[in-house]
């Protein structure tokens, strides 16, 4: 087990370096002169040259990459060409909001998705099963930004129960987190259901039932524990996807998180912020995947035998 985790950790290092290289080079491919952007439209050529010198933009590319990596480690990601504030400050201010939104969405998705999946599996082909699987199909297919607008139209414009956009109390979080969590809930319901159905077919469930155990005990103590293994994997991956999906949800709900910051920065050509945000989201996703794999290894004892073999 320890070996497996170490191996998995070591495999993460080249990925993290690769991601930083990829993002670094992609940003350098973008049109426009970063020094000019930083100096402002009215800047004199001398001033632009000064800026170029100050931010090390005259250095060879590998030196720039070295500086960039050092910045990543020390938390200095440059200055926003739009607000002129440090990128770390910009992201640091907004990231907790995205994290709140994504966590709440994941919570909703897990509670709704897993319980709907369990009930669907145990009452296969019932009205509930058919209805929830239909809703799940639609939930996966509906564009998240459209769902956001429709919920806004219904609950904010028509019924006036909830605020349409912005940030404030808990009421501001309700619509964004439901919207963002909807597709994940749908996916989790489908996976829980099929995984539960697989487990319920297995011999140890028949044994448990033939021992005369109550159906409730069979389902929740014996079946669920095994059925949740694939769900945990999806749960972790969904958290990363929710962080990415926040780009759309935050735009609709004017939720000032990193997703909206990313889109705004792309449209403003504020590349230092784009670079920092993309890097942050990718790193987080890598770390989440790592954690998921480790949890998976704990849950499924078959995994670490494979690890030891290698």
């Amino acid at each position: 087990m320890y070996q497996y985790i170490m191996r998995r950790l070591l495999l993460t290092i080249p990925v993290v370096i690769g991601v930083s290289l990829l993002v670094f080079s992609l940003i350098r491919l973008l049109p426009g002169d970063p020094a000019r952007a930083l100096a402002g439209v009215t800047a004199t050529p001398e001033y632009i040259e000064q800026v170029r010198e100050r931010y090390g933009l005259n250095d060879p590319v590998y030196v720039q990459y070295g500086n960039f990596m050092r910045g990543l480690v020390t938390g200095d990601l440059g200055v926003s060409t739009f607000s002129r504030r440090p990128v770390t400050t910009e992201i640091g201010e907004r990231f907790p909001r995205t994290l709140t939104l994504a966590s709440l969405s994941l919570l909703i998705a897990t509670v709704v998705g897993v319980s709907a999946g369990i009930v669907s599996a145990t009452r296969r082909n019932s009205i509930f099963d058919n209805a929830s699987m239909f809703v799940a199909l639609v939930g996966v297919a509906a564009p998240v930004f459209w769902m956001a607008l429709m919920l806004q139209l219904l609950f904010a414009v028509q019924l006036r129960w909830l605020p349409a956009t912005g940030m404030g109390g808990i009421s501001h979080l309700v619509l964004p987190s439901i919207t963002l969590g909807m597709a994940s809930a749908a996916l989790m319901a489908r996976i829980t259901r099929s995984s539960m159905l697989d487990v319920l077919k297995q011999d140890f469930i028949t044994t448990a039932r033939s021992k005369g155990l109550a159906e409730r005990v069979v389902i929740y103590k014996h079946a669920l524990k095994n059925a949740l293994i694939p769900v945990v994997t999806v749960l972790g991956l969904q958290f990363g996807i929710l962080l990415g999906g926040a780009v759309l949800t935050e735009t609709v709900f004017a939720w000032p998180g990193v997703g909206r910051l990313l889109v705004d920065s792309i449209l403003r050509r504020d590349y230092p912020v784009v670079q920092g945000t993309v890097m942050l989201l990718a790193f987080l996703f890598v770390i989440i995947n790592l954690v998921v794999d480790v949890i998976y290894a704990f849950l499924d004892p078959r995994i670490h035998y494979q690890g030891q073999d290698n």
Binding site: G18, L22, A141, V144, F145, L153, V263, I266, V278
Partner: protein, 298 residues
């Protein structure tokens, strides 16, 4: 071949050609017995007809403004109302279907075109080449969901063609992983050893012998990938990073309609429904194909 109704056991000793033929028929038969898949096929068929015959079916121009007729509700003249420039929403959406279907199909062609060769070469040769390819794919997979497409489109610039490239490239790692796994399993089979013993070249073994046997997962994945690409493209259009005005792309129409949601919500409702149904159609067919191509569930 486990479906006795379609292929009786005693007929299975037929020539390879007939067997392939009946395998195909079995898959189609199974697919057509799946209610969801049939609904999905019907939805896709409807969108295809609408896209192909858009010039015939459209009642108005998709791009001509008519400022005296702005933001009109549904009427006999404008079947789905008009937008902020007085353009007919129904006609615009017909042409928008062409764009969405085009993006879905072309991005899958790009994804397969790069992902399948990369995945199969990586799986077939193994070794250092495989390790390097896999780490590169790990890096691409490190971008969650739509983010990789956003990053690519940021570099390439906005526009429908770049959205196709972005969504296509974003799907490359998925295909590469999938095909690598299939090839790894297939290369241990005796027919590969036989082909090698017969002196057939690696290229021929991969593309003429192994890949045709790995088609099922690629077909299933592609069906789902069309749906995902359509959603991603609409998302990019919505964010202003995709198709640009006056292109009648559904996500972009929806994005423009946002400003009028209180007075003319048809501008957001219908393009969204169109995206939903198109994605639903491909997902339903994907589910059906997965069952039909899996001998265990047949």
């Amino acid at each position: 071949m486990s479906n006795p109704e379609v292929v009786p056991e005693d007929l299975e000793v037929d020539s390879a050609a007939t067997e392939e033929h009946s395998e195909f028929r079995a898959v189609i038969r199974h697919l057509l017995r799946n209610r969801g898949a049939v609904i999905g096929l019907a939805i896709i068929g409807l969108f295809l007809v609408a896209a192909v015959f858009a010039p015939v079916l459209a009642t108005h121009s998709a791009t001509d403004n008519n400022l005296t007729n702005r933001l009109q509700p549904i009427s006999g003249e404008n079947w789905l109302g008009t937008d902020e420039l007085g353009r007919d929403l129904y006609s615009r959406m017909l042409y928008g279907g062409r764009i969405s279907l085009g993006i879905g199909l072309i991005s899958v062609v790009i994804g397969i075109g790069i992902g399948v060769p990369v995945g199969s070469v990586s799986g077939y040769y193994g070794g250092k080449l495989d390790i390097i390819t896999q780490r590169f794919i790990d890096i691409m997979i490190a971008f969650p969901g739509i983010l990789l497409a956003i990053v690519i489109v940021t570099v390439l610039g906005v526009g429908v063609e770049n959205v196709m490239i972005a969504t296509g490239v974003a799907s490359v790692p998925i295909y590469a992983r999938l095909v690598r796994g299939s090839v790894l399993a297939a290369k241990e089979q005796s027919y590969v050893a036989a082909a090698r013993a017969a002196g057939i070249g690696d290229f021929s073994i991969i593309f003429r012998h192994i890949l045709p046997n790995c088609l099922a997962p690629i077909i299933v994945q592609s069906t789902f990938q069309i749906a995902t690409s359509i959603l991603w493209a609409a998302g990019l259009g919505f964010l202003g990073l995709g198709a640009q005005a006056p292109t009648p792309e559904w996500g972009a129409i929806l994005s423009n309609g946002r400003d009028y949601i209180r007075t003319a919500h048809h501008l957001t409702t219908y393009p969204g429904l169109a995206i939903l149904f198109m994605v639903l159609g491909f997902n339903l067919v994907g589910d059906g194909l997965r069952d039909a191509l899996d001998p265990k569930t047949r």
